[in-house]
Amino acid sequence: MLKLIQKLVPRSPWIYRLNAGSCNGCDVEMATTALIPRYDVERIGCKYCGSPRHADLVLISGPLNLRVREKVLRVFNEIPHPKVTIGVGACPASGGCFREGYSLEEPVDQYIPLDVIVPGCPPRPQAIIEGVVKALDVWRKRLEEDTCCRF
């Protein structure tokens, strides 16, 4: 029974956008993927949710600058286990064009482990959807081996 649930569960990813100080380019691309019918993320079972407590996949954009760091980490901790993180754009992985700027010490992945990175500045909607699909594999593996589940 548990095996069956673990097999079925990754077919229902609910996604949440977390803006860690991005330039809004990535956010616009994510909003178009998630919110308009054209790219139809609902076909893999996605639902865009407004509350971090409902989320499974977290799409992080932006380099996590000093001003928002505490708040972003706090929201990130409010997302229930098991969760999978996706870094969208060049910023979360390397700092992108904000690299070595005065507002930034280290990019996101020094604070939050990123499971999938979608490159691009900004990435195309298709790339973001592919990132989501890749994250499902990570999620499946995590459910099988991890202890973060309640069972």
């Binding site: 569960v9 077919r11 019918p37 139809d40 407590r53 499974d56 589940c149």
Partner: protein, 319 residues
């Protein structure tokens, strides 16, 4: 003793319980699939609501420190229990006549607001400002959409009472329609039927009336702080509530069975629920945006309630 057994069966298995849960999840799946097809996209699979529930059931439960924990945990359970009992009372034309001795629309009037009450309890116990906003919106909207429901109930009851049936009994209403044909084809009752069909999206919070749980403004309002199994319970509650309101509309407007066989009648009943769902929830949701709270409130008082009152007046005069 047999009465108690029958009631338990009704709450846990046939019109309530397993049947209502399965039907509700199926209807929700159809709703999402058809909405996607209307927007020319592929959409999720039909069992998507079930998958969502399974997923939520293995997630972590987080409870805010400032929340009232007892009320926070009880709210979804109370809501689900309430709708299951309501589902047990709902008669299915030609298959099931409700739990005898309870089949009474006055009891229904008390039971129907329970899901909304559960949402309010959830919103105000979660200690979140968005939850409180959702709570006040849900309450205001409830005052608006209960009015046409009560007026429709009265219109139907008076119509049946005029023909010699007993007022306020679901059994009598069904028996009247088996004899005189469905209420939906009765010219006097057409405005009330329309009002009842508008009541369905109002109570389910879809389309124009997606006010208490509006995602862009109050990020799901009362449900904001919920996660894991508790949220799953709320989703189950809303699925059964959908079944309850659709079955209520079917029972009041067109409960007539198709033939003698129980299975055929059941299929016919499910088919009627499906058609009603597509008309009043799915197409309505695809075609409309959302109203402001005051507009939604005014909509029910200006248009829906008077329509039901017209039927009530006509039924009173013509009896």
């Amino acid at each position: 003793m047999s009465n108690i057994l029958e009631a338990t069966f009704a709450v846990l298995i046939f019109p309530g319980g397993a049947f209502a849960l399965a039907l509700g999840l199926f209807l929700k799946g159809v709703d999402r699939k058809v909405l996607a097809r209307l927007q020319r996209r592929v959409g999720p699979t039909l069992i998507q609501p079930l998958l969502d529930i399974l997923k939520l059931s293995i997630k972590e439960t987080l409870i805010p420190k400032t929340a009232n924990e007892l009320a926070f945990r009880m709210a979804p359970v109370l809501g689900l229990a309430g709708v299951l009992v309501t589902a047990a009372i709902m008669p299915v034309g030609g298959v099931w006549s409700g739990v005898t001795g309870l089949g009474d629309i006055l009891v229904l009037l008390y039971l129907l607001p329970i899901p909304a009450m559960a949402l309010m309890l959830a919103g105000c116990s979660s200690s979140s400002p968005y939850g409180a906003l959702g709570f006040s919106r849900e309450m205001a909207l409830m005052f608006a959409y209960e009015m046409p429901l009560i007026a429709t109930f009265l219109a139907v009851a008076v119509r049946v009472g005029g023909a010699g049936g007993s007022l306020f009994s679901l059994d009598a209403i069904m028996a009247y329609q088996f004899l005189h044909g469905p209420m939906l084809l009765d010219p006097v009752m057409i405005p009330a039927a329309l009002a009842l069909i508008i009541f369905i999206p109002g109570t389910m919070g879809s389309g124009l009336f997606d006010i208490p749980e509006a995602e862009p403004e109050v990020i799901e309002g009362p449900l904001l702080e919920y996660s894991g199994p508790l949220l799953a319970t709320f989703h189950l509650m809303s699925a059964v509530k959908l079944v309850v309101v659709l079955e209520l509309a079917v029972a009041l407007l067109w409960p007539n069975p198709l033939g003698g066989s129980v299975l055929v009648n059941l299929a016919w009943h499910v088919f009627k629920c499906l058609v009603l769902l597509l008309v009043s929830v799915t197409c309505f949701r695809a075609a409309t945006g959302r109203l402001r709270l005051d507009q939604g409130f005014a909509f029910f008082f200006k248009y829906t309630t008077p329509m039901a009152l017209v039927s009530l007046g006509l039924a009173t005069i013509l009896r």
